[in-house]
């Protein structure tokens, strides 16, 4: 297990490095001029040149790259090209919002999806199974922004049950949670569908396994067979794809943040994209990729913990 973990952790380092380089290259190759974006319609040529120099955009690409890596190593993500705010500060503000949203959606997805997946698997080919399958198919087909808009329209505009704006007051937990409900639902219900489908098919696979038959032949009660033997085994493939689902979740959260006007990485990214703020843009992308890499690492380690074949492998 320790060997496995170390190997797994070491593997992320080159992965991260490549991701960083890729982000750097992509963003630098982008058209549009940050200096122009910053100076706006009154820009003069001298002004533009001076600003480019000030921002280090006139340096050769390799030098910019080395600076970029060096700064990252020191935990310095640079300052926004537009307002000079250190990117780290901006990320520190928005990251918790994105995390609270994506994690709570994931938790909701697991807490609803797993039991529903088990239930439909056990009622295979009955009406509960059919309706569950159709609903979950709709769930994985509906774009998160559309679900968000529908929830917003029904619960905020029509029924006036939930707020529409932002993420709630800082330090007021109740308010934060209150603002989190609809966005979490719009992401979490989609996650629920994914996890439910996965759990169902995994459970069906496991129920056909020999060891389930063995367990039955021992005279164990149905529930014990299902939950102690089948369920725990069915959970392993589900856990192994949670990392992938989290990445999907992370991607969808961008649209959700826009729809609900919530602060967060996604909102920051879209803004930076529009303003050609390369420093912020590349930092946000790096954070997204890093998040995804670490979530995958985390999931793999958990996976190692629950599967003895890896733990004692």
């Amino acid at each position: 297990m320790i060997k496995y973990s170390i190997r797994r952790i070491l593997l992320t380092i080159p992965l991260l490095l490549v991701v960083l380089s890729m982000v750097f290259v992509f963003v630098r190759l982008a058209p549009g001029d940050p200096a122009m974006a910053m100076l706006g319609q009154y820009a003069t040529q001298e002004g533009l040149d001076a600003l480019r120099k000030q921002m280090g955009l006139d340096a050769p690409m390799w030098l910019q790259y080395l600076r970029f890596l060096g700064d990252l190593l020191r935990g310095d993500l640079g300052v926004s090209m537009l307002n000079g705010v250190p990117v780290v500060d901006q990320l520190r503000v928005v990251l918790p919002y994105t995390l609270e949203l994506t994690v709570s959606a994931m938790v909701l997805g697991v807490l609803l999806g797993v039991p529903m997946g088990v239930y439909t698997a056990l009622r295979r080919n009955r009406s509960a199974d059919y309706s569950g399958r159709v609903v979950s198919l709709v769930g994985i087909s509906i774009p998160s922004f559309f679900l968000g808009i529908l929830l917003l329209y029904v619960f905020s505009v029509r029924m006036d049950l939930f707020p529409v704006l932002g993420a709630g007051r800082d330090g007021d937990l109740g308010d934060r949670l209150y603002h989190l409900v609809l966005p979490t639902l719009s992401l979490g219900l989609i996650m629920t569908s994914y996890i439910m489908r996965m759990t169902r098919s995994s459970m069906l696979n496991v129920l056909n396994e020999d060891f389930v038959r063995t367990a039955k032949s021992k005279g164990l009660q149905e529930r014990i067979v299902v939950y102690k033997h089948a369920f725990m085994n069915a959970l392993i493939p589900v856990v192994s794809v949670l990392g992938i689902y989290f990445i999907i979740n992370l991607g969808s959260s961008i649209m959700t943040e826009i729809v609900f006007s919530r602060p967060g990485l996604g909102k920051l990214m879209v803004l930076a994209m529009k303003q050609r703020d390369y420093v912020v843009l590349q930092s946000v992308m790096v954070i997204y990729a890093t998040l995804a890499i670490f979530i995958n690492l985390f999931v793999d380690l958990i996976y190692g913990l629950i599967d003895p074949r890896i733990k004692y492998g």
Partner: protein, 328 residues
């Protein structure tokens, strides 16, 4: 006389309703197992042996399977009439089962000791600690070295033979009266096979259990069983004690089976190759009318194509399903 009969299966019909149509996997099975004896059930793959075993355990998946007809008398009670709760009390306790695939028949997430102890504490109502102690004892009985340590291991840490020993330990842990072994050695190396079979024989004696041994390997039958039922396409075609079967097989299918065993004590001439039964097992979806074996039988005649022959006792203790002998 009646008292020494442990299990009697009468006219068992187990059908599967699949997308492709109806499959009569067990189509009127009659077998009897005596106390302390071993009955061998032989036949090619897909002839319904395992279905018969699972029907006795009432572990047929429903749907698509269903036991449509018949009686399974175990200790004078019809298992098919029992409530699920009562049946559970019999499973693993009075009738236990060993499966073909030791690699996949154990739960990979549970320690072997716990998997054995689970059945013990369920059926014998002992504390978890006692159950675990008993499990270690059983592991020792099946000849596993360092049973204490092995009990704490997971299945993937063991070899196939080891795992099959664990399965046997599990099956015997509650002193069952009947042990159903479904091809227990097929997946194992030849050298291990012999060890496992010897172990089963030894333990049968020790525990006084009966065994229903399912196999396609007549060599195994010769070593283990007292009587044999030969099965073909969902039906018993010959039922007789082991000596008579080997000396004088009567059903053409049994004859074919016998002839396909290489005999160690005979020198096979260069020009004579091992004989096989021609043709393939008929599709269970589309059985021929009349005797199911007729297409592969080189002794078939008109009557065989008309009606399925009945199973009749042509001499005491020898049942046969063939028009050649039982012509009215």
């Amino acid at each position: 006389m009646k008292n020494d009969i442990l299990l009697e299966v009468r006219d068992l019909h187990t059908h599967f309703y699949t997308d492709e149509g109806l499959v009569k996997a067990a189509d009127g099975i009659d077998i009897t197992i005596k106390k302390g004896k071993t009955l061998g059930l032989v036949g090619e793959s897909g002839c319904g042996k395992s279905v018969t075993a699972l029907s006795i355990m009432r572990l047929i998946q429903e749907p698509p399977g269903k036991i449509v007809k018949g009686e399974i008398l175990f200790d004078d009670q019809n298992l098919l009439k029992l409530s699920e709760a009562k049946m559970r009390h019999i499973r693993g306790n009075r009738i236990s089962m060993i499966f073909q695939e030791p690699m996949t028949s154990l739960n990979p997430l549970l320690r072997c000791g716990n998997q054995i102890a689970e059945a013990i504490s369920l059926h014998q109502g002992v504390s978890n600690r006692d159950a675990r102690a008993k499990a270690v004892e059983m592991l020792q009985k099946v000849g596993i070295p360092d049973p204490e340590g092995r009990a704490r291991e997971y299945p993937h840490q063991m070899s196939g033979g080891m795992r099959q020993r664990v399965m046997i330990a599990m099956a015997l842990s509650c002193n069952p009266e009947l042990m159903i072994a479904d091809e227990p050695t097929t997946a194992l190396d030849v050298s291990i096979q012999a060890q496992i079979l010897a172990l089963m024989n030894q333990l049968k004696e020790e525990f006084g259990a009966s065994i229903l041994l399912i196999t396609h390997d007549l060599g195994v039958i010769a070593d283990m069983a007292q009587s044999v039922a030969v099965m073909y396409a969902g039906k018993i075609v010959e039922y007789v004690d082991v000596v008579r079967l080997f000396d004088n097989p009567m059903h053409p299918y049994s004859v074919g089976l016998m002839e396909s065993i290489p005999k160690m004590d005979e020198v096979v001439p260069e020009d004579k190759i091992l004989r096989t039964i021609p043709g393939v097992v008929p599709s269970l979806y589309n059985l021929p009318s009349g005797c199911y074996f007729q297409e592969r039988c080189n002794e078939a005649f008109d009557a065989c194509g008309k009606k399925v022959p009945p199973l009749i006792e042509i001499e005491p203790g020898h049942l046969l399903r063939c028009w050649k002998y039982g012509q009215q």
